[in-house]
Amino acid sequence: MSYSVMKTNEDNEVIYQRTDADGLVRRTCLAHDPEFQSWLSANQSSLPDDIQAKVDDGILTIADAD
């Protein structure tokens, strides 16, 4: 499974989506969702390009790993 950027909504919020191994998107989340942050922390050396772009732009912050 992997996360990607789903969309930016009418309130200018970036919504992220988790795509499972079967190709289905079963989870959508906000940037500070703990499970998304855990995934970001574990995969921060090889993030998908669209996610990395949000990090580089300062739109998405990766919390400290625990």
Binding site: I15, Q17, D20, L24, R26, T28, L30, P34, A42
Partner: protein, 370 residues
């Protein structure tokens, strides 16, 4: 000491007579998300997937099935079960796997942590495995970056055993923050590479975070053989140095407590309306889902079946199915979850619509987990 004297001592000591157990769903009764899931390799299946409030955290090549089981000791109906399906006999140094429970700081104020009045904590549980040997249970104070671990032994294969571990009071550091954020975790360890057990084991002494001290040097590798199983239920954490009998709560009580962190609404027949809301345009709508319990915080995620056509609308005399999966909005609150719904073309760009789950596989899950 007589039993009566023991009880009197207990009443006068640190343990409350009710609401002793700080753990929610310790009897593994509630499993809103499902009853079985694959965990591993690496981060696959990490997070909350089966029994509420208990989540897997892992990195490595071991793969397992995590499930809610009906195999349980006398007095319990359920347990959480892990069964290894892909083994790893040669662990890398950073490989790890544990089952976690997370607490809000405001629920831990009675511990008086970080003061001269700090209380001991006792964690007790029923456990069963066909992999005998030494295991580790860690307490992780995330507010003060301090940890403490103790080991327990599974003595007999395939036999339910009751374990009790008492952690000394921690008078150092600051107290737990009195808020709704994460302050403390219990971590039940299954797999630990050398990086987690090469130092001097905490062994009951609270100290600053040091990965090398977290796990007992003799910790078994539960993931070394396909078919290894590990069950747990009756998880209780209470103040004081003595484990008291597990505090059973009704299913309704446990469910409501779990819904503070996660709420799922499932398909329940053809007229399964889950929310009302408005439309922005003929393709974009927003549903406002009322939550049955005030959540810990405004939701940060929703999950659903992954198929857009499992969701739809009724309004202006017509029904339609969605053209994209429902998505969370940030304008949610602790009592209402705002959900974006997308359609190819509604019959109006104004007015109120009712939104529903139209397929037996559909569901909406709302998460405000720690």
């Amino acid at each position: 000491m007589s039993k009566a004297a023991e009880l009197a001592a207990l009443i006068g000591s640190q343990t409350a007579l009710s609401n002793r157990n700080l753990v929610i769903n310790g009897a593994m009764q509630v499993a809103q998300r499902g009853t079985s899931a694959t965990v591993g390799p690496n981060g696959t299946g990490e997070g909350y997937t089966v029994v509420d409030r208990f989540r897997n955290s892992l990195s490595g090549s071991v793969v397992s099935t995590f499930s809610q089981s009906t195999d349980a000791p006398s007095g319990f109906a359920n347990s959480a079960k892990i069964e290894i399906t892909t083994a790893d006999t040669s662990l890398g140094g950073t490989e790890f796997w544990n089952l976690r429970y997370s607490f809000e700081g405001q629920d831990l104020q009675s511990i008086a942590k970080g003061t001269s009045d700090a209380k001991a904590l006792t964690v007790s549980f029923w456990v069963k495995s066909n992999k005998t040997g030494t295991y580790t249970v860690e307490l992780q104070d995330t507010d003060n970056s301090r940890r403490n671990s103790l080991a327990y032994t599974i003595d007999s294969s395939d036999t339910w055993e009751h374990k009790s571990l008492t952690y000394n009071p921690d008078t150092a550091g600051s107290g737990f923050a009195n808020d709704n954020a994460l302050s403390l975790r219990i971590n039940f360890w299954f797999v630990a590479g050398a990086d987690y057990k090469s130092g001097t084991f905490y062994n009951g002494t609270w100290a600053a975070e040091d990965n090398a001290k977290r796990v007992h040097s003799s910790q078994v590798n539960l993931g070394d053989t396909v078919g290894n199983e590990w069950y747990i239920t009756g998880v209780q954490m209470e103040l004081g140095e003595q484990a008291t009998p597990f505090e059973h709560r009704s299913f309704g009580d446990e469910l409501a407590k779990c819904q503070r962190y996660y709420f799922r609404i499932n398909y329940n027949g053809d007229n399964n309306y889950f929310a009302a809301g408005g439309v922005y345009t003929t393709t974009a709508a927003m549903a406002m889902l009322p939550l049955p319990v005030e959540m810990r915080a405004a939701p940060t995620a929703i999950d659903q079946s992954g198929t857009a056509a499992h969701y739809g609308s009724w309004g202006n005399g017509a029904t339609q199915v969605c053209s994209a999966v429902p998505a969370i909005r940030g304008s949610s609150s602790k009592t209402t979850c705002a959900i974006d719904l997308t359609f190819s073309s509604l019959n109006s760009a104004t007015g109120t619509y009712n939104y529903r789950i139209v397929n037996a596989s559909g569901y909406i899950g709302v998460s405000a987990e720690l």
